[in-house]
């Protein structure tokens, strides 16, 4: 009895490790599958490849050469210099703004979400279900319904066209709260909290020195998703930021891309180099936090 059980369990581990068994498949079949995957990868990667190639070309090269290969010399440094000096270096300003909004906004939002998620998951208080219902219900609210009146309210109190108009909305993120609640339920046992209380620790102390420390993984995931969200935001900044000195990268690139029809200035080369650069922070974040990101991706699907 014990023997069979043991064999069954080892069998399962082995199967999980080299799953699926390649022996069950013919060579030709595998090759066929690989062709499909290679084609799909080419489709996924060629726009990025094209973008990299395009950022190394000057204007003539961009307009007159085959887009998928380098030609006409290496102009990446010229393009970068142009990008950073155009309009008194406004591109750097936009980059700093995007980093500020996404970084500070997500950090504050994550802290708030962790506190809220912890409160919802580990305390029974009147109105708790109502708060959670609001959190989940807000997933369905279209962004236009919130953003337009928010613009009017912000303009009443003089916040429109200031960094606060971007930062304040980032602090309140219901999806982060939802994730934080799920993570708290999974990582913070009641017994631990009881033990800390018996030892005489106050609730704030418990939160800051025990709960937050145990929630590093969950917190990092919440932060990552919020950062990506804010970095990618378009409708909110378009609505609440008017002057270009407060714009985000997305907004600036959008504006440059429309310049050609609006005023006849062709900034295509700057747009492409800028687009390539604006991917970099995102790629760094995602690669550096790959571990957290995977759990986040699968949890995000639950939404």
């Amino acid at each position: 009895m014990t023997m069979t059980e043991e064999r069954a369990s080892t069998g399962k581990t082995v199967r999980r490790l080299n799953r699926p068994d390649p022996g069950a498949r013919s060579r030709g079949g595998q090759r066929f599958l690989l062709v499909g995957l290679v084609l799909a990868s080419m489709y996924s990667l060629f726009p990025v490849w094209w973008l990299i190639v395009a950022s190394t070309k000057d204007r003539t090269g961009l307009y007159q050469s085959n887009g998928l290969w380098f030609s006409g010399g290496w102009h990446l440094w010229d393009n970068l210099r142009q990008l950073f000096t155009y309009n008194d270096g406004i591109f750097l300003r936009w980059t700093a703004n995007s980093l500020l909004y996404a970084g500070v906004g997500s950090l504050g939002g994550t802290l708030l979400a962790l506190a809220t998620g912890y409160g919802l998951a580990r305390f029974q208080f009147p109105g708790r279900n109502l708060v959670f219902a609001c959190v989940v219900g807000s997933f369905l609210i279209p962004i236009a319904l919130l953003t337009l009146p928010l613009y009017l309210l912000f303009s009443e109190i003089g916040l429109v066209d200031t960094p606060w108009a971007m930062l304040i909305p980032c602090l309140i993120n219901p999806f982060s709260v939802y994730l934080a609640k799920v993570y708290t339920e999974a990582t913070i046992p009641y017994e631990l909290l009881e033990a800390a209380r018996i030892d005489g620790a106050g609730e704030l102390r418990i939160f800051f020195s025990i709960v937050l420390r145990m929630m590093t993984t969950g917190g990092a995931t919440v932060f990552l998703l919020a950062f990506v969200n804010t970095w990618n935001a378009f409708f909110l900044p378009l609505t609440v930021l008017r002057g270009e000195e407060n714009w985000t990268l997305n907004l600036g690139l959008y504006n440059w891309s429309g310049k050609r029809l609006e005023s006849g200035v062709d900034l295509t080369s700057l747009v492409l180099t800028g687009a390539l650069l604006s991917i970099v922070p995102m790629a760094i974040m995602m690669v550096a936090m790959r571990r957290y990101w995977r759990t986040g991706v699968t949890l995000g699907a639950l939404k």
């Binding site: 506190a115 208080f125 708060v131 807000s138 279209p142 309210l153 970095w231 699907a301």
Partner: protein
Amino acid sequence: MIRSQRWKGAAFTVPFQLGFVFLYLLPIGYAVYQSLYHEQQSGLGLGGATEKFVGLDNYKEGLTDSAFMGSVLRVVLFACVQIPVMLLISLVLALLLDAVTSKVAGRFRILLLVPYMIPGVVAALVWINLYSPDVGPLTPLGEFFGFHWNFFSPSMVWPSIGNLLTWHGIGYNMVIIYSALQGVPRELFEAARLDGASEWRIARSIKVPFVRGALVLTGMLSIIQMLQIFNEPALFRNITPQTVDDSFTPIMIIYNQAFNAGNYHYAATLSVLLALILGVGSFLFYRLTSREVD
């Protein structure tokens, strides 16, 4: 739990609650309030505007506004094509990944996820330039094969946006489906193989049914969410304002009403209407699917 402890617990949620009231409830209330009023120019328009209560008149106007309802219909139709195509490709890729060795699968998974790492606005900008007849490689490529396609023409602009969204979304959806496929008990495959089933048959009769429920669910929800599409059409409008007019999608109409026509009351009405359509759609969908499960 001790009473004082409960209140301390509640205190952890208070900052969020205050923010929620200010950033969610207050704006929604304000939008609903505004949707019941109408701005009226007095006399010759010299005395400034006054607000007049009009009840549900704005809603009547919105429901019979052919531009608005047309845009809702157009976006839903688009979503009914784009979302299933995208999910189908993602499903095929997930099945391919599931059928190769895990080492190979790991490598391709990273490659296929690259588009997902690119911000949506940047992805749209890149594709707009790929489509561009001046700098993009797709127009000369088409001509090489004898096609004279114009990606910004009225009949091509939706397929162009659809391709862009599909490109951006397949990697992410593939990962989700792939991780669901990992949950299929492997013993089932061996049993099927012993019974002489081909790999194709196993994929079709065991793997696909296993993820079908989840796929239908995400698909329907994505179709409803597509009502909010704004970024991609707005970026296309930047390039071809003749093809992508300012009433292309519901949110574009709302934005235009608020910031170009200066008609906040009507913009508020339309955003409440859009929220209602989304809410009713999701509700009906949940009723339908939960009945199916029973």
